[in-house]
């Protein structure tokens, strides 16, 4: 299944701009660094997956303006629905962010 969505908000800057149209495909498989469409607190959100120990954090690339979420095995209210496939450039780790993650 394919999801066509329009970005509202600034938490994924500079990777995704407000108003930008994105394509997601339904998936149950995602990796650290993937941008995903998720249901968080009942709303569809676009965030990046960060694995931290046994939890999955959904974080915006714009740390100063992002409300982030945590997915644990117990948490049913937050879940990942689909993975970003377009724009292709955004689906790739930004070097700067990857730098922080590799530390």
């Amino acid at each position: 299944m394919v999801y066509l969505r329009r970005v509202v908000g600034q938490s994924m800057l500079p990777t995704l701009r407000p108003g930008q149209v994105c394509v997601f495909i339904k998936t149950t498989q995602y990796r650290h660094g993937d941008i995903v469409l998720a249901k968080a607190e009942g709303r569809p959100v676009v965030k990046r997956v960060h694995y931290r120990e046994d939890k999955i954090h959904l974080k915006g690339d714009n740390h100063q303006a992002s409300t982030d979420y945590i997915i644990t095995r117990r948490t049913r209210k937050n879940r990942i629905v689909a993975r970003l496939v377009w724009p292709k450039r955004a689906a790739v780790w930004l070097d700067e962010i990857a730098e922080v993650e590799r530390l």
């Binding site: 329009r6 970005v7 509202v8 600034q10 149209v21 709303r43 915006g60």
Partner: protein, 130 residues
Amino acid sequence: MRFFKNLIKPVYAHCDLPCGVYDPAQARIEAESVLKIMQKYQESSDEAFRMRAIIIKEQRAELVKHHLWVLWTDYFKPEHAEKFPELHELFWKATKAAGETKHSTDPQAGEELLALIEEIDKIFKETKKS
């Protein structure tokens, strides 16, 4: 073109301003990063790595302060401060502790910061019950 764009369902990349979602977890996650960076700094003898660790630790500590201030000034209300009289001092101590982690590489400073955030989290959860 704009008309067609508006037909596409939105997906939210939002901050706390429009949605009103607050959680001390944001400050805690950044504080956990600060602590981990301090530990890795202590374990490394690579000068380049240690320099990078300090730069990134500064950024993360600043984010801790930011998230604490957002909670303090945007989420908590006068009635919360009335019910939990220690609230203001706790935030003051926590932001001071976040500042301390900027000029310290001792993991103890990171642990103290996390303990204070934990105290704030307990109060936050209490306010959510009512």
